[in-house]
Symmetry: C2
């Protein structure tokens, strides 16, 4: 038997998965002590013993707290006799520190994935990880699923598209644009080139000659953090005559004054997922995660 | 060779240890990204390769952030070729969740100590851990040092003691009282009994017949958290006629309105250590830690 365990940062993805897989779901009791320490508790340990335990905890801010709560839950689930522990971390913190950009740096995503593994997780699932190769630090049984299909379907159902084009704000996000374009019926897709001004240091989107005039432009990316990249891209295509600017992203972190930047960029529609709670969380990543879980659990 | 590496929460204990042991000290570069993720960096990795590396990071609030920074530092030090990694965590977070008080709880201090060990630490040193038996979760090479000698010496040097008595606010802290009494020349020591009122649920210090009248009463404990226990103890001995009330504790967490409670309790003098930064951090725990490090490093 398998059971879903929802952590304090599961953002209701736990319940959705339980419903899709038709298995039970328990929510960890949770509080924070006056000194700031986290407390979790499994409500029914007899449901853990001998079963496959799927722990759902998204690692958005405060990420270190959510990480430690996850590690507490894994360790305790092992103590209570869990068979296989499957960790579902829809948003994986520290995934952008995926290599040593400067000598002396840690590879933070490696440290984190190894902690999760060595705490006792046999399987790991995340969504639109910044760089897929980072999963090698977990070893076998690590899965990355994409939310781009769900995002594309949502856009198709909510926006009238006459002659749309999908753009990645940089080359690194091109695979996301490709996926969205495919779901939207094999429409055109491309990417914008970022360029740093050699004198001022300012980052500019250097528009290639993009055929965006009078078209709906769908800009897609994995993360909106401070909103700078997306705002710049939106501004650029708007100036080139786009009819509508639509933004789709998986993880809407929206740090600092991101909301203000997005508002000023006059984007017509923004859609993000529930990996990070925000006002743009309009689609759930539960369906693609459920698909992988079915395979793992041999349903 | 050995080197001290000071983490973002080393509170200058790193420099003091380096001076006492006459070994080099590097401080980790540190910043927090706009989204809340921690960044650390070793400034000189060539000093890590082949050497014993002593990482100093105290785990006070925000404890989960300080924990993850420590785990990043351990993992990176291993990558850079550290020989033995010795972790000095003067304040050990989660040390009060040392057993399952209710079924379904994690043993958080176990989880934390295992994470530190499995990340690559060969040795672990902390100060006045809440329960000494918790160190067994680290296994061999875990050391607990007491700050009570330093606290006693500080009190002796700063307060005129005519006829002092040392009191623990509960039986669990009696060993601390014993140690302080010993350093103060084998003076009298005892403990107060806490009792919960069976009707109101209020916790009261039930004074045994304590000979505190016209004497200096030194109340010692490992942690001042919300300040409730200490304030109650101070009030009780004051009511019984104590001439002066002096409080000595290792870890002054001072959460919530602890400062107000302490002020209202009219304590004459408070001394704490530098395991947690506070206005009461008047003595350093570096000397007893240095002693253990000398043994480990065979100086």
């Amino acid at each position: 038997m398998a059971i879903i365990v929802g952590g304090p940062a599961s953002n209701n993805i736990d319940s959705k998965l339980a419903e899709m897989l038709n298995i039970p779901c328990v929510k960890l009791e949770h509080k924070i002590f006056p000194d700031g320490e986290s407390y979790i508790r499994f409500p029914e340990t007899e449901k853990i013993m001998g079963n496959d335990v799927i722990i759902v905890q998204s690692l958005y801010s405060p990420q270190d707290k959510h990480i430690f709560e996850l590690l507490l839950a894994i360790d305790a689930a092992k103590d209570f006799g869990a068979k296989n522990i499957i960790v579902v971390a829809p948003y994986l913190a520290y995934s952008r520190q995926d290599r040593r950009f400067l000598e002396g740096e840690p590879i933070s995503v490696k440290t984190l994935l190894k902690l999760i593994k060595h705490s006792g997780a046999e399987y790991f699932i995340t969504v639109d990880i910044h760089k897929e190769y980072s999963l090698e630090h977990f070893g076998r049984n690590a899965y990355n699923v994409t939310a781009m299909e769900e995002i594309a379907k949502h856009i198709r159902e909510n926006i009238e598209l006459r002659n749309a084009i999908v753009l990645a704000p940089d080359k690194g996000a091109l695979s996301h644009a490709m996926k969205v374009a495919e779901v939207l019926g094999g429409i055109e897709y491309d990417y914008l080139e970022k360029k740093r001004d050699p004198i001022t240091g300012e980052i500019k989107v250097k528009p290639k000659e993009l055929p965006v005039k009078e078209r709906e432009v769908i800009i897609v990316d994995d993360i909106i953090s401070t909103g700078g990249t997306i705002a710049l891209a939106a501004k650029s295509v708007r100036e080139q005559g786009a009819r509508k600017v639509i933004v789709g992203c998986t993880h809407a972190l929206l740090v600092g004054n991101a909301r203000e930047k997005l508002r000023k960029a006059k984007i017509d529609y923004i859609v993000a997922t529930d990996t990070v709670p925000s006002e743009y969380s309009k689609v759930s990543v539960a369906p693609p995660i459920a698909k992988v879980l079915k395979n793992i659990l041999k349903f």
